[in-house]
Symmetry: C2
Amino acid sequence: MKRIAFLLVAVTVVAGVLAFTAPASGRADEQASPIYGVTIPPGYRDWKLIAVSEIAAGDKSQLRAEFGNDIAIKAFQQGTLPFPDGAIIVAQHWMKESSPENDKVLAMVPMVAGRDSPKSFVPGSFINMQVMVKDSKKYAASGGWGFGDFKDGKPGDEALTKTCFPCHQPARDHDYIYTHYAP
Amino acid sequence: MKRIAFLLVAVTVVAGVLAFTAPASGRADEQASPIYGVTIPPGYRDWKLIAVSEIAAGDKSQLRAEFGNDIAIKAFQQGTLPFPDGAIIVAQHWMKESSPENDKVLAMVPMVAGRDSPKSFVPGSFINMQVMVKDSKKYAASGGWGFGDFKDGKPGDEALTKTCFPCHQPARDHDYIYTHYAP
């Protein structure tokens, strides 16, 4: 456990999350999800894209992007199931916002042939991000996946984190992953 | 011109677009956009993500992803304007499709607090991709950008390609780029 804690601290320092003068002990665990101990992978925003998606829910709609580390991307591209240990998938969620700037252009040059006037939507404020880490031994009780849900860099509480695996269970035929690779 | 044609052929060969036995002469130009001679950048699908977006137009709505090469991504992340020569931006457009599989899960576990039932949308069939290449000398007449619009790997015709720059002109204060980097 000490070694794992040390690694977590190291990773967190690399990510620049810890202030230089912050005490190292304990801080790493505060940034890890309950139950699974999953942390935000450093540099994930620059990872390759698996797919984009949308959750439409009135004025609370989201635009989403799913990123994968190289192990996850390779598995997606080659159709490998189950995902190999070490695969990490990150889903990032933004509020879906109207873009009046883009709408003005669309009104001049209809880029999309449709019966309705096309409207542009873009990522607004950052909502949350979710992380899934594959480790078939460590997370054997949850399909081989560890879960974390982060808002403002802080992991959600135990009650929230408990909902992750049940929500992914219906996708068990695809190793608990809903996202398909967008060609 | 001969040197440019050679480079285009080389790039196209790397991309695996040319069949091994195909005659090299002429083929590269067929894959390049009219007016600008812009080609599909090899490996762009694995580039870093600038942002995601949506064009909503009834049953012809699109989900979109904008990718940048390292020069473009660095400029976006650092807020550099105008974009440096060598920057390439690719926009990829998919039909927006409903996901009944995801909707079943959302019905069980409302992931989005909203007055409407959340619905999931994912990338469907590939529509087209658009490429912008920054070369302030070569493309001085079009704000320093060369344009290409590709469907099934083939560039659109001259009439279509002529619409690119006028459509981007209203964004001249942001070096003709509409997309903002999604944090």
